[in-house]
């Protein structure tokens, strides 16, 4: 550890010496139409042939010897701007890029220099901008961030209706989902049909599948980083839509022009309104509200405040039902400490909770409420040392408060508190990383993260007897631990390393390694994650999950204007202390949940192919993943490796967009995945009249349900741009027509076995039958109307 820091310090010191006599050019790159910061815009110093990209706040800084330069600023879908700069002292240049008006022009603009696929050191990153997301065919016409990323290589789902997503064979709980840096513990509305991210408020979505930079940590599979729009800084803008499920409205406007702006976006479902007669007293709806304000205090200081509030409500009548939702708040302060050091301080609050109530009358009721609260503080420094080194370092401090159950049962007027103890944890990490260009061919990003977790009181600490794995252990001791007392602590050193070697201007090879530690666990043994799933900390009985991932990839751009990009990446991930559960595990409202958990090893490996056509009237991508994800847990499957419930051998996606005319465009996507694994019985026997299935091979997940495939189409019809009198309309609108699952395939979600209803014939036992359940058994048409003014 000391050695590594020594190396870093040497770098910084030598870098400083080296940087002497140089000057810094920095500033922000923004969208000219609305003042939104452009993330990942390219700043190219033409004379040197090197460049930098803007960070997540649209900031860039490059250190150069004094002199005259031509600096080109470019970004996908925008006209590039070139500035001649006479650099003798540090200089700040903020640039606004104008969006290309039509799709056709977009082609021309993006045709050059969009070679990040090949030149960027980062691999295993999937990035989607909201423009692309909003063009894809979507279930019931509702554009969805999470459904869209499932179309990228290495990302999958167990089926429609399942919450979350799986990355490179990781489980749903191994993804860190961040909305403006705040962790979102349940990213779904209506179980898993829609995600909580309102597309009107989302600017940029990045999914890190591997080669994860040292500033991120806390989950072993992936980081989904969703960034919200800042709000139009130039003029009032409203976006909205009316779909079959949601109605949406987003307004954004400057508060002080070019200094402060806001966005406020809301959505609400209205099934309950439409189905009111059928629902009696029941209510069934979900909503979310997303907002953000930013304020430029001065050239060097900027603050952002953003928040999310959403809830799903299923009430059967006034007294019973259940609901769940996330609340997040993020406060960020950007400060330019000097021309080379960019500082950001983020404070985050996040809460996920659910409530369940079942009331017969005042004397007979059952209420249960569960929370996970997070307080997070993240200082982050970026030091733009010189054009060859960009150093970042910082810290991450997270306080968790798990409140698994505040519950009361009242029977005949006498109430019993059946709540569970709170649990607390402190996760703390420091990290340092450097993005270094070693030569024109070789660049690297490396870093290290030291993370720690403390499981602290006040709570009750249990010790369990040592039993054969798979059997529920008894509690052998119970200790009350005082407030703040450390019960157990863990440390992990997480090295991160990525390399890029440029073979020629069109192709490169990249490799990466990362080690990740995860201290909190999503406890769920159901096929799909459910809103009632609980998060639990690492404790004296549950160790942190640790994962190591290696990835190697080849990246190539080709075509006349390099309008095709291609990549192939192989990955191997091995993990320790993955969770599985004893048979018959009782995971809800159980004080002894640690006794229900088994721990095992995981391994996942695969190869991902990605071919994308960026430009032209016809564009889109092809993604194919060949993969395997397995677990080995003592007490399950005779202790042998078995595939995860979400393991898919083949996963193929084809996404196409076609611009037929100025007003009409089409999109289509096709998905094929291997059926997920399950367990079938071999035999039956009977106990007390119940027919029981039994697998004589003691196997887990040794067979597969049939393959999944589906084709969706959608058409977008833009409203007229001009009024009859030839004047340009102020408002823009468009209709989207969609057909989901166009050939109405009954894709299996699961196959299950049960005794059939009805009396068995004389001299025979009851019949047993296999059933296939499909979440969608038919074609789902949709229509939505969207507007902007």
């Amino acid at each position: 550890m000391d050695k590594i820091f020594a190396v870093f310090i040497t770098f910084i010191i030598t870098g400083n010496v080296y940087a002497q006599g140089k000057v810094a050019l920095n500033g922000y790159v923004k969208d000219a139409s609305n003042g939104e910061a452009l993330i990942g815009a390219t700043v190219l110093i033409k004379e040197l042939g090197t460049g930098v990209v803007t960070n997540v706040y649209g900031f860039y800084s490059v250190t150069l010897p004094p002199g005259s330069y031509n600096v080109e600023y470019s970004y996908i879908g925008y006209f590039p701007v070139t500035r001649a700069v006479e650099l003798s002292l540090d200089q700040r240049i903020d640039i606004e890029l104008g969006a290309s008006d039509t799709e056709l022009e977009e082609v021309v603009v993006t045709a050059e220099a969009q070679d990040a696929n090949v030149t960027d050191v980062q691999m295993s990153v999937a990035r989607l901008d909201i423009k692309t997301i909003s063009k894809m065919p979507a279930l019931l016409g509702e554009v969805d961030v999470i459904k869209s990323i499932q179309l990228l290589p290495g990302v999958s789902t167990v089926g429609e209706g399942a919450s979350g997503f799986n990355v490179r064979g990781g489980s749903v709980g191994q993804n860190l989902v961040l909305l403006d840096e705040a962790p979102v513990y349940n990213s779904s509305h209506l179980f898993g049909f829609f995600s909580v991210f309102n597309p009107d408020a989302v600017k940029d979505v990045q999914l890190f599948k591997g080669g994860i930079p040292s500033k991120y940590g806390g989950r072993i599979s992936s980081i989904l980083d969703v960034r919200m729009k800042e709000g139009n800084a130039k003029k009032f803008e409203a976006n909205g839509g009316v779909g079959l499920i949601f109605s949406r409205l987003a307004v954004e406007a400057p508060i002080i022009e070019d200094k402060a702006s806001f966005i406020l976006a809301g959505r609400r479902s209205y099934i309950d309104v439409l189905a009111a007669p059928a629902l009696d007293d029941a209510s069934l709806y979900f909503y979310d509200l997303t907002g953000k304000i930013n304020y430029n205090i001065n050239e060097k200081n900027k603050i952002y405040l953003s928040g999310y509030l959403g809830r799903d409500v299923f009430n059967f009548d006034e007294d019973q039902g259940f609901s769940w939702g996330n609340q997040t708040a993020t406060l960020r302060w950007n400060r330019l400490i000097n021309n080379r050091i960019f500082f950001n301080l983020t404070g985050v609050y996040s809460n996920y909770d659910y409530e369940l109530a079942f009331e017969q009358d005042d004397d007979n009721l059952f209420e249960w409420e569960s929370h996970i609260e997070t307080y997070n503080l993240k200082p982050e420094f970026t030091y733009f040392l010189n054009p060859k080194n960009e150093i970042s370092f910082g810290g991450d401090l997270i306080l968790y408060r798990f409140r698994p159950a505040e519950a009361t049962a009242v029977s005949e007027g006498s109430g019993t508190d059946i709540g569970l103890d709170d649990k607390r944890g402190v996760e703390a990490a420091i990290y340092v990383g450097n993005k270094q260009t070693i030569s024109s061919k070789l660049s690297t990003e490396y870093g290290i993260r030291l993370s720690s977790f403390r499981y602290i009181g006040a709570t009750t600490v249990y010790e369990y007897e040592d039993v054969e794995p798979g059997i529920r252990p008894d509690v052998v001791s119970e200790t009350e631990v005082g407030d703040g007392e450390v019960i157990e602590e863990f440390y992990n050193l997480e090295p991160r390393l990525s390399f890029r070697y440029q073979l020629n201007p069109f192709s490169s090879v990249k490799a990466s390694y990362n080690r990740m530690a995860q201290y909190i666990h999503l406890v769920s043994n159901t096929t799909a994650s459910i809103p009632l799933d609980v998060w639990t900390p690492s404790t004296n009985n549950i160790d942190p999950q640790v994962g190591n991932q290696f990835a190697l990839g080849y990246f190539r751009n080709f075509g006349e204007n390099q309008d095709y990009e291609f990549s192939v990446e192989g990955y191997f991930r091995s993990t320790q202390n993955e969770l599985d559960y004893i048979d018959g595990a009782d995971l809800l409202l159980n004080e002894f949940i640690e006794g229900e958990v088994l721990s095992g090893d995981g391994r996942a490996y695969g190869i991902e192919f990605y071919l994308k056509k960026n430009t032209g009237k016809f564009n889109g991508w092809l993604s194919y993943t060949l993969g395997r994800s397995e677990l080995q847990v003592e007490g399950i499957n005779k202790g042998d490796w078995y595939p995860n419930r979400f393991d898919q051998t083949h996963n193929l996606t084809l996404v196409g967009f076609y611009d037929y005319s100025d007003r009409i465009s089409f999109s289509a996507n096709f998905t094929f995945t291997t059926g997920t694994p399950t367990t079938f019985p071999t035999s039956r026997y009977e106990v007390q009249g119940y027919t029981l299935p039994h697998n004589d091979n003691q196997a887990r997940n040794d067979v597969r349900i049939p393959n999944y495939h589906r084709l969706d189409l959608s058409m977008t019809l833009q409203g007229k741009k001009f009024n009859k009198n030839g004047k340009e309309r102020k408002n823009r609108d468009y209709w989207t027509f969609g057909l989901y699952n166009i050939y109405a395939r009954e894709n299996p979600f699961s196959i299950y076995f049960a005794e059939t209803d009805g009396q068995p014939s004389l001299g025979q036992g009851p019949d047993t039958q296999a059933y296939q359940f499909s979440v969608l058994g038919s074609i789902v048409p949709s229509i939505s109307y969207n507007f902007k003014f």
């Binding site: 209706g161 898993g192 189905a275 059928a278 009696d280 029941a282 069934l284 299923f314 019973q320 079942f358 017969q360 009358d361 007979n364 049962a409 029977s411 005949e412 019993t416 059946i418 569970l420 798979g470 159901t526 096929t527 799909a528 048979d583 018959g584 009782d586 409202l589 159980n590 002894f592 419930r645 399950t678 367990t679 079938f680 019985p681 071999t682 035999s683 026997y685 007390q688 119940y690 029981l692 299935p693 039994h694 697998n695 004589d696 003691q698 009954e746 299950y752 076995f753 025979q764 036992g765 019949d767 047993t768 296999a770 059933y771 359940f773 499909s774 979440v775 969608l776 058994g777 789902v780």
Partner: protein, 301 residues
């Protein structure tokens, strides 16, 4: 609860379910033991047979010619279960007189089966079962309930002291409610050890867990409702919990939230570790009560 949520959800989306044919791996016929005995004044049966391929609905192949003995370890009494002449594989013990019942509360029991030169053994205990105070009726609640639907509820006080476990069986006009969804288990007055409610009246949903799962079958005036509380060991509580999970496949959206299929763990051990065995041995004390549904027992708020 879950079923209610999901039935609401089902209105929203277009799910579908179909019967399918699947090929299963070869089945190994395995000795299975169905040994749930109690202290009711009736014939006690232990059934030995062989498991069969999952889709076969033949009468199970009996395991005849075994010797079956249950021992009250506490009091040192052997109960020999004799194979019935007309029902091979069924081993029975009959109370010697009308006033006598099997075993006594507080005793530990062992089961010993000798079959084909292998000894199969298991243990259990007869724990206390609380008396049922009354069974009453209320207007049904919940989203699927119509105005004139009624539900039965029973009142009984769990014993003081944590760790009493029960299987509560209900009968409608003498017919046992035998659907997997109707399995009603209690841990003390609540539903699980991790959220203990001790020494109290059974809570919702336990006390309401004596109603038919299918609301079309709800109790109507004149129905006779029978309730039996079977004391079970914690081990049997776990077994029955898992049995309910593995057999209660209602399909539909509950499939999204289904636990992975897995084998039930038997509490029977073979002297020859090569020999496999399935099933469970349980001893219960039973308290019961019956009530005919009339206006007199309807609780009005």
């Amino acid at each position: 609860m879950r079923a209610i949520i999901l039935s609401l959800l089902a209105m929203v989306v277009l799910a579908c379910e179909s019967e399918i044919d699947v090929d299963l791996d070869e089945s190994i016929p395995t000795l299975s033991v169905d040994a749930f005995i109690n202290n009711m004044n009736q014939e006690q049966r232990i059934i030995l047979y062989f498991s069969q391929p999952y889709f076969e609905n033949n009468i199970y192949e009996p395991a005849a010619g075994a010797s079956v003995v249950v021992t009250d370890i506490t009091q040192g009494i052997d109960f020999t279960f004799e194979e019935k002449q007309d029902e091979p594989g069924t081993y029975s013990w009959l109370p010697p007189s009308e006033n006598e019942t099997f075993g006594s509360i507080g005793s530990s029991y062992s089961l010993s089966i000798e079959y084909d030169n292998v000894i199969y053994s298991a243990s259990s205990a007869m724990n206390r079962a609380p008396t049922i105070d009354s069974i009453r009726f209320i207007e049904a609640i919940g989203p699927q309930a119509d105005d004139d639907d009624y539900q039965a509820e029973f009142f009984a006080l769990d014993f003081e002291g944590e760790g009493d476990t029960y299987w509560i069986k209900a009968y409608k006009n003498g017919d046992f409610l035998d659907e997997p969804a109707e399995i009603n288990l209690a841990y003390d007055a609540g539903t699980s050890s991790g959220a203990a409610i001790d020494g109290d009246f059974f809570i919702v949903p336990v006390k309401l867990g004596i109603n038919p799962d299918d609301t079309d079958e709800s109790y109507v005036f004149g129905d006779n409702v029978g309730v039996e509380i079977h004391s079970i060991t914690n081990d049997t509580f776990d077994y029955m919990t898992e049995l309910a999970i593995q057999t209660d496949n209602e399909g539909g959206f509950s499939q999204l939230f289904a636990a992975p299929p897995s084998n039930l763990r038997t509490n029977i051990i073979a002297s020859d570790s090569e020999m496999r065995v399935l099933g469970h041995f349980s001893v219960s004390a039973v308290s019961s009560q019956e009530q005919v549904f009339t206006q007199d027992v309807l609780r009005l708020d």
